[in-house]
């Protein structure tokens, strides 16, 4: 498993372009975290990839207009465990049921 840190300007669709470079190869993404960073935005992706795919992905990401940097690192324990906190269901189940009920009325 490798973790990729991709730095990008958060323009329309840039994060999706980053992700489609992964999905078009049928690679699963067990961990993803995107957030604002010092000079723009950063997304961290944990991927099971071979050396050839690493090279191809890095080049594909670099070719995206608003990607500024790509780095490869070692995954943290949290990434591997997938222990990130989860919030409650959105919208809350009860609210969803209420809406459905109202719609049926």
């Amino acid at each position: 498993m490798k973790v990729f840190h991709i730095y990008y300007r958060n323009t329309q669709g840039t994060l999706m372009r980053i992700l489609t470079a992964v999905s078009r190869r049928g690679i699963e993404i067990p961990y993803l975290h995107a957030a604002a960073s010092e000079n723009g935005h950063r997304v961290d992706l944990l991927l099971e990839v071979n050396p050839k795919q690493i090279g191809q992905l890095c080049r594909d990401w670099h070719a995206i207009v608003d990607v500024s940097d790509v780095r490869v690192g070692v995954p943290t324990v949290e990434m591997l465990d997938g222990t990130g906190e989860m919030s409650g269901p959105q919208p809350p189940v009860a609210a969803g049921r209420r809406s459905a009920g109202a719609a049926m009325a």
Binding site: Q12, G13, K52, G55, Q56, R59, H62
Partner: protein
């Protein structure tokens, strides 16, 4: 105060746009309403796919950005094949799509499609315009990215209410990219290449579309003359190297010449100039140029190491890197490769099997191409006729052979020929299609007629989806599943219904070669007319394109007949 549509068109004019192709509809109507007096000529095609291919034809023939316009929903989705085609073949293209009113976006409104999301993986850059104020910046940036580096397609999706809205307009915007291309080359890279050349026994040069796109044809030809090593081209590189050059071996790849494929298989140093090295060029990637070290001149770093690692990447515009490298080798002492040239370019490796040269369609194309003026542009659709045409192409005109190479989109050639003819009114434009592909955009005969474009259209009619049938014959035990087109319509009558003159030539006319005076006159009538003309060439249903490298085989494992 000016309407968004007027501002939009003014910004297109500022980008040098004079010609656009499109098809109107609900959401894009305000833009069409503002067209008159904008200084932009709009060509109405009969399908949005025709518009985007015509825009591609214009871009491929001129190097300028092609522009296609469509409405929201089905109009936009009909552009998708052309956008994918432009991505694969590095064509500068801007597609403008109308979108439903901004307030309705996301509500599954009538003719609403998420064209931005739909085309994300096919475009180099795209924007959904979010306000009238954004229009100038979005257009400036979109055109920049369509042209920059490795050219490609851009989508600008604009909600109809922003086209109708008004604002003060102070003029088109200018875009300055924040990111600078990284210069990862230096003297060290060139020195490395020279050292590789110094020890190479069998160097070769492979030329792709990048040589044309960069405008570095003259510089590349000078470099190849100086190197004097066997050279060959991809289908998009055709015309970059003069066919008369003594070291030129023709097209390489699945249907490449025997000489080119053998030299590529045997080389120990492969110099690649602006080519992606896709599977149609490499064959089995694990056995592609198995003994070669690779030097890759390429503007787009994403194209490096896709199928094989290159030892030295020379990243940058070939217009800069090629002359710089040429200058660097001018003082270098390089080995004498006379013997290798003698082997690679020798008569033992004739480009086609003699039986292939006698094939009626090959003779037909040779006869046709041989009668074309020098400045002609040949468009090939997709299939057997495409490969035959590529094999027989003999012009040194860099933008003289146009086809959908990467995507292989049937139906490309006829609408693309419209774009080419409008951009090159002085040129003879020959459009070669198969009977399958021609029917995919046959409606564009109406556009040809309306504009009275003197395009010379050829249908190589074997009453099959010929290339698929060839694969079925060779690799699927002749199970011709759903490739039979024996109930084709009468293309001559169809052309006449569009008020286009048409005639038919049977392959028997090619049995005498050189052709008879009568057949020669038929060619002259066809090519000499100032009107659009269609010529249907009836050929044998089971003729095959050879040589052929079967999928998954090495380039050295060419077939010359059914085994």
């Amino acid at each position: 105060m000016r309407r968004g549509a007027e501002i939009f068109l003014a910004c297109l004019r500022a980008e040098g746009v004079e010609l656009v192709f499109g098809y109107p509809g609900g959401a894009i109507m305000p833009l069409y309403d503002a067209l008159e007096g904008s200084g932009i000529r709009h060509v109405l095609t009969r399908h949005e796919q025709g518009a985007v291919f015509a825009a591609e034809g214009h871009a491929r023939a001129t190097g300028q950005v092609g522009v296609a316009i469509a409405t929201s929903g089905p109009g936009a989705t009909n552009l998708v094949t052309g956008i994918a085609d432009a991505k694969m073949d590095s064509v500068p293209l801007v597609c403008i799509t109308g979108q439903v009113r901004s307030a309705l976006i996301g509500t599954d409104a009538f003719q609403e499609t998420d064209v931005f999301g739909l085309t994300l993986s096919l475009t180099k850059w795209s924007r959904l315009v979010r306000s009238i104020e954004e229009i100038p910046e979005v257009i400036a940036e979109g055109f920049h990215w369509a042209r920059e580096g490795r050219p490609g397609p851009v989508v600008i999706d604009i909600p109809t209410d922003f086209l109708k809205a008004k604002m003060e307009f102070s003029g088109p915007a200018k875009f300055t990219p924040k990111r600078r291309p990284q210069d990862i080359n230096g003297e060290g890279a060139f020195a490395h290449v020279i050292s590789l050349l110094g020890t190479a026994a069998r160097p070769v040069a492979l030329v792709g579309a990048g040589a044309k796109l960069s405008g570095a044809i003259g510089e590349l030809r000078q470099l190849l003359d100086a190197l004097n090593v066997p050279a060959f081209a991809t289908v998009h590189g055709l015309g970059a190297v003069p066919p008369t050059a003594p070291y030129y071996l023709g097209m390489v790849g699945m249907h490449g010449t025997r000489a080119a494929n053998m030299a590529l298989h045997e080389t120990d140093l492969l110099l690649v100039f602006g080519a992606r090295l896709d599977d149609r060029v490499t064959g089995d990637p694990t056995r592609f140029a198995p003994n070669a070290r690779i030097v890759h001149f390429e503007v787009d770093p994403a194209q490096l190491d896709r199928v094989r690692s290159c030892e030295v990447p020379i990243v940058g515009d070939l217009a800069q890197t090629v002359p710089a490298f040429h200058k660097r080798i001018s003082n270098a002492k390089l080995p004498d490769w006379t013997n290798w040239r003698g082997v690679a370019c020798g008569p033992d490796r004739a480009e086609l099997d003699p039986r292939g040269l006698a094939q009626p369609t090959i003779r037909f194309l040779d006869e046709l191409f041989g009668r074309l003026p020098e400045n002609s542009v040949i468009l090939a659709d997709v299939g057997q006729h495409q490969m035959w045409a590529a094999q027989r192409y003999r012009s040194a005109l860099p933008r003289g052979f146009i086809t959908s190479g990467g995507l292989g989109a049937m139906g490309f050639a006829l609408p693309a020929a419209i774009g080419v003819q409008l951009s090159r009114p002085d040129a003879t434009v020959l459009c070669v299609s198969g009977d399958g592909g021609f029917q995919m955009n046959i409606q564009e005969l109406a556009t040809v007629r309306r504009l009275n474009l003197p395009i010379k259209m050829v249908i190589v009619d074997n009453k099959y989806l010929g290339m698929v049938r060839q694969w079925q014959q060779l690799f699927y035990h002749r199970n011709y599943a759903e490739t039979d087109l024996s109930d084709n319509p009468d293309f001559v009558e169809i052309a006449k219904a569009y008020r286009i003159s048409a005639s038919r030539l049977c392959e028997d006319a090619m049995s005498e070669y050189p052709v008879t005076e009568e057949t020669g006159e038929a060619f002259e009538r066809f090519l000499g007319s100032a009107e659009p003309e269609l010529l249907v060439f009836d050929c044998a249903p089971e003729a095959n394109v050879y040589p052929m490298v079967p999928a998954g085989a090495a380039l050295s494992e060419m077939l010359f007949e059914e085994e």
